[in-house]
């Protein structure tokens, strides 16, 4: 036997171990596998030992034998590799590579192991070519050296493994060859040698792969065994771009996860998963951080501390959280320790940015303002003579108007007074390490954001310490603690007041102080009079989670795990208004101090058992008993009427009138859950879950609920018949069915409640506390439950060029917590009841494509699409009008068979014009310039019972997002588009109606510029100025909010190469912009995403330009 010559591997065994360790670490950090599961999934495939005893068989038979006994499969070109050669082989408990070494000893056959695939090929090479001696270093995406990477000259078996420092050296490489770099868990890369003698490579983690492990709540499972709709957010897309909170990073990345827009500093966006299930109860998903249910704000978690964010979208996936999972679950894992070759790894990220208004609200300038004064007067039947304009102005306006001969306005743009260029600073520092027994991750981060309006400030300071240690080889303890302080202090002047300022207003008194009424009229305050003298708003969150895991030594695969989480959240809110403010003026100053504190405790006890039998039967059982407790206290001290306001809220005792309000309460919950998973040969998986929950806030007859679910996964690509379907790398099918609950009901709401107030009788020194029953007892209010069916496909095609998943679902929510209108004859206006059924169905697709991969240029995209339809199936189930169809609940806006966002209103069919009046067709009570409302029954009047009709829907028709990453050498460019689309009556809004804000007909109050009707502007979008005041019948025109937004651009330069000589592991610089441009063909107003019309107080969205640097060493 000749010495094998195809892989120059010094010590095969060592490499396997090294590779294994690497795999373990990466998988651990990236995918958070528990130790036991690593044993279950990874050790199996790579540590498989085999015994063979075959005589006079062809090599292909040996290969077949190996395939049938293991999960490995072989790929080779039979024209090249001689597999008909007969051999004898006899071995006991040998590793597969060892067997292959024996098998191909003394031949020119080489092999390459890639996951479970083993490729056989022939050593080739054209010796006449020019050769170079090539060397370089391979690092991971963080810049850390990567040992154990296989480097092979493409098309040959010439190759080597990188050493402990990630270095490799290959003699005699053809100058025109390509190098293939591969490593388990990383994307394989092909790089042209092109005559170079040094090539450094940064490996990227593989997103989709058969080995991927997914968090599913109370544990993890290999992707292949996932039966529900589970999606992981691609946090790495924004890795080098600073974000204020993780919501910004995940927006649009997961189909069906909807993150709303924001427009003030530090604002936390609303978040929903799939459609709207509930009407009265919350639609916010449950958030679980490091295994513990999290009641704080997502903004408490700095993006950089988050390793992984998983969304459980369907019933079966979320069912482990039973009673509170109906709106989906978001699982977040924070980072764990990770070092560089045993040394601590430091990460520093800093960014600075500036912000401006994406689309500022425009108010009338001097010319427009004066014209509007005339228009309003004319509309109201008053004299409107342009030559007499100054007499229509208020005293101050007239003075300023007459101050210059050309009537120069005093304010060119009132927003200049209250707006500014925004700034964002962001800094994160972390250090982490991983040693044999212990891992730690310590970080701190700081965000300072100044919004585009004065006093719109936000600060976030946070710190985290995560430690995980194997105390013995059967006992592991982890502690994850974090503190976050968000500071929203600073009172912004309301946009309303600024919107109202006349171009001829006087902001200052002669002494330089702010004039209370800048344009005489007392309807318009100086915006600066509206600002609180003192404003403090601080929100703290301190959380500690302790996890203990005990592997029961005498039963293989059995472990006990406990999670104990404590969190305290406390808020401080102070405000003071002195006598020179709108609020403080009439009461000689007023202020309050508000403190509240919430304590949350969670104790989970879990028994887990997982084991693989006979190589192909994988069993995983989890049993849980969970207890939750929450308690809160609050106190507010209020005072007004100060002789001296100098001390503000620091000395409320100086107020002559003082009140104190205190409050508190608690809630408790229990949960018991059992989950079992069985997987056969990585091909078929079934998971069943049942959870029973008890929650104190429910009424006394309905405290407990049971939530079962079941799911299947069939990995079709592992079937024999798929072997020849080469374009398909992976294909699996999922089906799940289950029931979830919604417990988002506020504690104590089912108890009868007596509220109090104050009334002072004459002859009494002090007030009497009054009392009344404000809430009726509700003994039967219980869980809302959502039952859903989900079907999904996961696929990887064309050598992983295309991968993704498609899900379709159908859910129905029963026993809705519903604020049912009752006749007010009863003294009540509504009562919360469990009634009705809402159905949702939808379709979601996530697609990752590698569009172009040519040498140093690479273009990949991620596309997400989601669509949801909901409808009210039944509400009360009554048919009082006897038409054989259930009656709509018009009073609450619910229509059987229609969506929850249905708009049932008068239809604006046009505008009444002068001709209508002249020819007598105008409706009584209406005037030219009033909206023409469709008189459905033609009785000449508009009444709500007869003339309302279905106009459309406020829900989106569909949403999509498209992220493109282009890489060229060390540059990468990311472009992210985001869209919510309506069309055909979808996604309608009425809140942009500029004539509804109460000032459209006030000629001494400025207004957002809009297109209103006048006798000379008869084609206007909006009605005459006094429509709201004087039209007998009023309707609103609904407008489509459809938009496509260029949400983010970032250009990143990876400068690692330049700084490496100084011992820096990685350096990235990026230039990025957020919220750059919005295309909204129908919308009238500011940002359609935030639903801001052209009304007073419409707050523009913030556009941010950011420069970020991240560095690790």
């Amino acid at each position: 036997m000749k010495k094998n010559h195809f892989l120059m591997i010094p010590d095969f065994h060592k490499i396997w171990i090294s590779k294994l360790c690497r795999t373990m670490r990466i998988t651990f950090f990236v995918l958070l596998v528990t130790v036991s599961q690593i044993l279950a999934t990874n050790l199996y495939s790579q540590n498989t030992r085999l015994s063979l005893n075959l005589k006079d068989v062809e090599i292909k038979d040996v290969l077949q034998e190996i395939e049938s006994k293991t999960n490995f499969f072989f790929m080779y070109n039979a024209a090249q590799v001689d597999v008909t050669r007969e051999v004898n082989i006899q071995c006991r408990d040998m590793l597969i590579p060892e067997i292959l070494d024996v098998l191909f000893h003394d031949t020119n056959v080489v092999y390459e192991v890639n996951n479970r695939q083993i490729a056989l090929s022939i050593v080739g090479g054209n010796s006449s070519q020019q050769v170079v001696h090539l060397s370089g270093k391979v690092t991971d995406s963080s810049g850390a050296p990567l040992p154990g990477v296989t480097v092979v000259v493409k098309g040959t078996t010439q190759g080597i493994i990188t050493d402990a420092n990630g270095n490799y050296s290959l003699p005699k490489v053809p100058a025109d060859a390509f190098l293939v770099f591969s490593f388990v868990g990383m994307k394989t890369q092909e790089i042209a040698v092109a005559g170079k003698t040094a090539i450094d490579v940064m490996m990227q983690e593989e997103a989709v792969g058969i080995e991927e492990v997914v968090a599913i709540g109370y544990g993890t499972v290999s992707k292949q065994a996932v039966t529900g709709a589970v999606a992981q957010a691609k946090l790495e897309t924004y890795e080098n771009v600073a974000t204020n909170n993780v919501l910004e990073s995940i927006k649009g990345s997961v189909a069906g996860l909807n993150v709303a827009g924001t427009n003030t500093a530090g604002e936390v966006a609303d978040l929903t998963i799939r459609g709207q299930n509930s009407t009265a109860a919350s639609n916010t998903p449950l958030i679980v951080v490091d295994g513990a249910i999290f009641n704080g704000s997502l903004a408490d978690l700095p993006t950089n501390d988050i390793e992984n964010l998983t969304v459980l979208k369907d019933a079966s996936a979320a069912a482990v959280y039973g009673s509170r999972s109906a709106n989906g679950v978001i699982l977040i894992e924070t980072k764990q320790g990770k070092g560089i070759g045993g040394k601590p790894k430091f990460d520093v990220k800093m960014s600075y940015g500036i912000s401006d208004q994406l689309k500022p609200l425009k108010v009338y300038d001097a010319k427009g303002y004066l014209q509007r004064v005339l228009d309003i007067r004319e509309a109201n039947g008053q004299e409107a003579d342009p030559d007499n304009i100054q007499s229509y102005l208020t005293t101050i306006e007239a003075e300023n108007y007459n101050a210059t001969s050309d009537h120069k306005p005093t304010l060119s743009n009132p927003f200049d007074l209250i707006s500014r260029l925004g700034h964002t600073y962001n800094a994160t520092v972390s250090v982490s390490n991983s040693t044999e027994k212990t891992k730690y991750y310590i970080s701190t981060s700081f965000i300072k954001q100044k919004g585009v309006m004065i006093n719109d400030d936000f600060k976030h300071i946070s710190g985290r310490v995560n430690i995980d240690s194997d105390l013995t080889n059967w006992f592991n303890v982890g502690i994850k603690s974090s503190y976050s302080m968000r500071d929203y202090s600073g009172d912004s002047p309301t946009m309303d007041y600024a919107t109202h300022l006349s171009p001829y207003a006087s902001i200052y008194n002669e002494d330089g102080s702010y004039k209370e009424f800048p344009q005489s009229t007392t309807s318009v305050y100086n915006p600066f009079w509206a600002i609180a003298t003192e404003d403090k708003d601080i929100r703290n969150n301190l959380t500690g989670i302790i996890t203990g895991t005990i592997k029961i030594p005498w039963v293989k695969g059995l472990s006990y795990q406990t999670t104990y989480s404590n969190s305290v959240r406390w808020n401080e809110r102070f405000q003071f208004y002195d006598e020179n403010t709108v609020k403080g003026e009439s009461v000689n100053g007023k202020g309050y101090r508000d403190y509240d504190r919430t304590y949350d405790m969670l104790l989970d006890n879990m028994i887990k058992y997982n084991r693989t039998f006979a190589d192909r039967h994988y069993v995983d059982v989890t049993l849980l008993f969970s207890k939750e407790h929450s308690a809160w206290e609050s106190m507010e001290a209020y005072a007004q009427d100060f002789n001296n306001t100098a001390l503000g809220s620091y000395a409320l005792e100086n107020g002559n009138t003082q009140t104190v309000e205190t409050g508190g309460g608690e809630s408790n919950a229990f949960g018991m859950m059992a989950r079992g998973t069985y997987t056969y040969n990585h091909k078929y998986s079934i998971t069943g879950t049942v959870r029973r929950d008890g929650y104190s806030a429910f009424s006394k007859n309905k405290k407990w609920g049971v939530f079962p679910s079941v799911g299947f996964n069939w990995n079709i690509s592992r079937e024999k018949f798929m072997e020849d379907v080469v374009p398909v790398n992976n294909l699996s099918l999922r089906v799940s069915y289950g029931k979830n609950g919604n417990q988002s009901i506020d504690p104590y709401t089912t108890l009868a409640k007596v509220s109090t107030d104050k009334y002072i009788f004459y002859g009494d020194d002090s007030y009497t506390i009054t009392q009344y029953i404000s809430t009726l007892a509700n003994d039967d209010l219980g869980w809302e439950s959502t039952t859903g069916l989900n079907m999904g496909i996961d696929f990887t095609l064309l050598e992983k060029r295309i991968s993704g998943s498609i899900d379709a679902y159908k859910t129905k929510t029963n026993d809705l917590m519903f604020d049912l209108s009752v006749p007010t004859i009863s003294g009540m206006s509504s009562i919360t009841s469990n009634i009705g059924e809402i159905k949702n169905k939808g379709f979601e697709m996530n697609l990752h494509t590698l569009n172009l991969d040519k040498g140093n240029f690479k273009w990949s995209s991620d596309f997400a699409f989601s669509l949801n339809r909901n409808k009210v199936a039944t509400i009360l189930g009554e048919d009082n009008d006897g038409d054989g169809k259930e009656d709509d609940l018009v009073s609450d806006g619910y229509f059987i068979g229609r969506s929850l966002g249905t708009v049932y209103a008068y239809k604006v069919s046009g505008m009444w014009q002068q001709e209508d009046k002249d020819n007598g067709t105008i409706m009584s009570g209406m005037r030219p310039g009033d909206y023409k409302l469709e008189d459905k029954n033609g009785d000449g009047a508009i009444t709500s019972d007869k003339d309302r009709q279905f106009i459309g829907n406020t829900n989106p028709n569909f949403r999509w997002s498209w992220t493109n990453t282009l890489q060229y050498y060390d540059f990468s460019l990311m472009l992210y588009f985001y869209s919510i689309w309506g069309g055909n009556g979808w996604y309608l809004s009425k809140t942009n109606a500029p004539y509804q804000d109460g000032y459209s007909n006030s000629s001494s109050v400025n207004h957002a510029v809009y297109d209103y009707w006048t006798p000379t502007n008869t084609n206007a979008k909006f009605p005459r100025t006094d429509y709201r005041n004087n039209a007998a019948y009023q309707g609103t025109k609904y407008i489509d909010r459809s938009f496509i937004k260029l949400q983010k651009i970032s250009l990143t330069y990876n400068a690692t190469r330049l700084v490496k000589p100084w011992g820096v592991g990685g350096l990235n610089c990026s230039l990025s912009a957020d919220n750059i441009f919005t295309y909204a063909p129908h919308w009238v107003g500011l940002d359609p995403e935030t639903n801001c019309g052209v009304r007073e107080g419409a707050v523009p969205s913030i556009r941010t330009w950011l420069f970020s640097v991240s560095l690790n060493f």
């Binding site: 109201n380 039947g381 409640k753 009788f761 004459y762 009392q771 109050v1005």
Partner: protein
């Protein structure tokens, strides 16, 4: 585990531990008084706050220019979507719910009482308040659903009783109330005394056409020695000196007895005002004294206090001054723009009623103290300082001139608290807020109810005698039996009780709303609306009909 899941309230009371003794029930009663104050006077800073008082009926209109009035009620298109109808329907039934809770729980085992008298007095007061709410419903809607028990679970099958049944229920409640309610001398100001129940019973009896009952009931108040008309000047302001609306004349003793009736500190029975039967209480910057911590929304002065003389400029552009003495800060007939039109008196209240029997200069209710019709330049910097504001000396008169409509001084305190400072004059004002204890029931109305009963019974002599008691205090010419008709009674109510009585309810009770609108309402006249008499009753709100899904609530005819 079930023990842990049981909820025990920590920071709020439950009905079981709060409706248990006299103090608890008095708290519950106090809340009805608070609700009435909020609903009727202090809900919002807008003219809507006072829409039961006759605004846009025959007293006042929303005037936006010399010739333009905007209707508040859209009389010619009034339908079941009317905010007004829905608002008051809901409010009245809320009072009824609160009263029912007291009535039911007072008799419950959970309530302990020192004596049956204590309990009956509480029940009596609650029944009075319930009857007060129901009488409005009957007057304004006719027959409405009768709810007489505390609502403990949702109900969707209400149906209408007849109007007579509703009045009869009021009568039953009031007959109980007059036996047990405390008398005025036993009570703090703000609580309804027994006399209030007699007063209301008189009106209800008229509706039931039991005129003798009405006369007896009214007489119980009139003959009560606790109550008599104030005929001499009284109270805290008898020495008040003022130099006239031009602020330039000689200081003179200001006011008359009718003026005294409406000054802060004079309006409560406990303050020596023996006409005051039942008040609503307001106090400045005092907890429990107003609708909100900013000082309350009782803004009668602001929305019904006359024209904005303080907002004008003279022809030289000099701004007029806002004066804190007897000036107020009204915004009626807005000078700028036309959006916030307040109530402006219509011809009926401005002049027609005062011309009766040539009493313009005799009737003290029309004295210069009580109604201002001339306005002056008050800024010393003005060339016209001290001169009347006229069309000639006003800047942009076509826009800003104020036409000298009447300003009812009832709404304006003699001297303000000065919560705000006017930037031009530096004088204090209250931003249009007032802190007087307004009247819910006042003795002259009892006389006018008895007069109505006498007249309807055919005893016009006695009716004239009662009316003349009211008129003679006002130094107005006596009327004779031959003068008496319902219109005279309505006119006399207007003269004596404008801005006090719930005019809309009165006109609807008498079936006179449509007629008076056609005759007097500026918006209706100027827009030539031809109103049908179905508007003498309000529509049942559509939202109620929709929510009452298990039974049909018949709509009133015409809607």
């Amino acid at each position: 585990m079930d023990d842990t899941l049981e909820e025990k309230a920590k920071d709020f009371l439950s009905p079981d531990n709060s409706y248990t003794d006299k103090a608890g029930f008095e708290s519950a009663l106090a809340n009805i008084y608070l609700t009435i104050r909020t609903d009727m006077y202090a809900n919002s800073d807008s003219p809507d706050n006072f829409d039961m008082l006759g605004g846009d009926v025959d007293f006042a209109a929303k005037q936006v220019s010399k010739t333009t009035w905007n209707e508040y009620f859209y009389w010619n298109t009034l339908n079941a979507d009317s905010n007004f109808a829905e608002k008051w329907w809901t409010r009245f039934y809320n009072w009824i719910y609160q009263a029912n809770t007291i009535i039911d729980r007072a008799d419950d085992d959970g309530a302990s009482w020192d004596s049956d008298d204590d309990k009956n007095a509480i029940i009596g007061e609650a029944k009075f308040l319930r009857a007060w709410a129901y009488h409005f419903l009957a007057n304004m809607w006719g027959g409405v659903p009768l709810v007489l028990e505390e609502t403990t679970s949702a109900k969707f099958d209400y149906s209408r009783a007849t109007q007579e049944e509703v009045y009869q229920q009021c009568k039953d409640d009031l007959e109980y109330a007059v036996q047990w309610m405390p008398t005025v001398d036993e009570l703090k100001g703000g609580r309804a005394p027994r006399a209030a129940a007699w007063h209301l019973l008189s009106e209800v009896d008229i509706c039931l056409e039991d005129y003798d009952g009405a006369i007896t009931a009214a007489s119980k108040v009139i003959d009560d020695s606790n109550f008599y008309l104030m005929t001499e000047r009284f109270g805290q302001w008898t020495d008040f000196q003022f130099n006239g609306y031009d602020y330039r004349g000689e200081y003179e003793t200001w006011g008359d007895v009718y003026w005294d009736l409406f000054q802060e500190g004079n309006m409560n029975w406990l303050e020596g005002n023996h006409e005051a039967i039942w008040n609503v209480e307001f106090d400045v910057n005092t907890l429990g004294g107003g609708n909100n911590s900013d000082g309350g929304n009782f803004v009668l002065e602001r929305w019904w206090g006359g024209p904005v003389a303080w907002g004008l400029s003279d022809i030289n552009g000099v701004t007029n001054f806002l004066k804190d003495t007897l000036g107020g800060r009204p915004i009626g007939l807005i000078a700028y723009g036309g959006s916030t039109s307040a109530w402006t008196p219509v011809n009926y209240t401005d002049s027609i009623i005062w011309e009766y029997k040539d009493d313009w200069d005799r009737d003290i209710r029309n004295s210069k103290y009580n109604i201002q019709r001339t306005y002056y330049w008050t800024n010393p910097a003005s060339k016209f300082y001290g001169e009347p504001i006229t069309i000639e000396n006003t800047s942009a008169p076509s826009t800003n001139y104020i036409y000298n409509p009447a300003c009812f001084k009832k709404a304006i305190p003699a001297v303000h608290h000065g919560l705000f400072t006017d930037s031009s004059s530096g004088q204090g004002h209250d931003g249009g807020g007032i802190f007087k204890d307004w009247y819910l029931m006042r003795l002259p109305e009892t006389y006018l109810l008895r007069a109505e009963a006498y007249f309807r019974k055919g005893e016009s002599e006695k009716a004239a005698a009662d009316i003349n008691i009211v008129r003679s205090r006002a130094q107005a010419t006596s009327v004779t039996a031959g003068d008496i008709d319902l219109d005279l009674i309505l006119d006399e109510r207007a003269r004596e009780l404008y801005m006090e009585e719930f005019r809309l309810s009165t006109l609807m009770r008498m079936g006179k709303l449509q007629e008076y609108l056609m005759k007097y309402n500026s918006a209706v006249i100027s827009k030539s609306y031809n109103l049908d008499d179905h508007i003498n009753k309000l529509p049942i709100p559509n939202s109620e009909i929709e929510a009452n899904k298990d039974a049909v609530l018949e709509q009133n005819t015409g809607y």
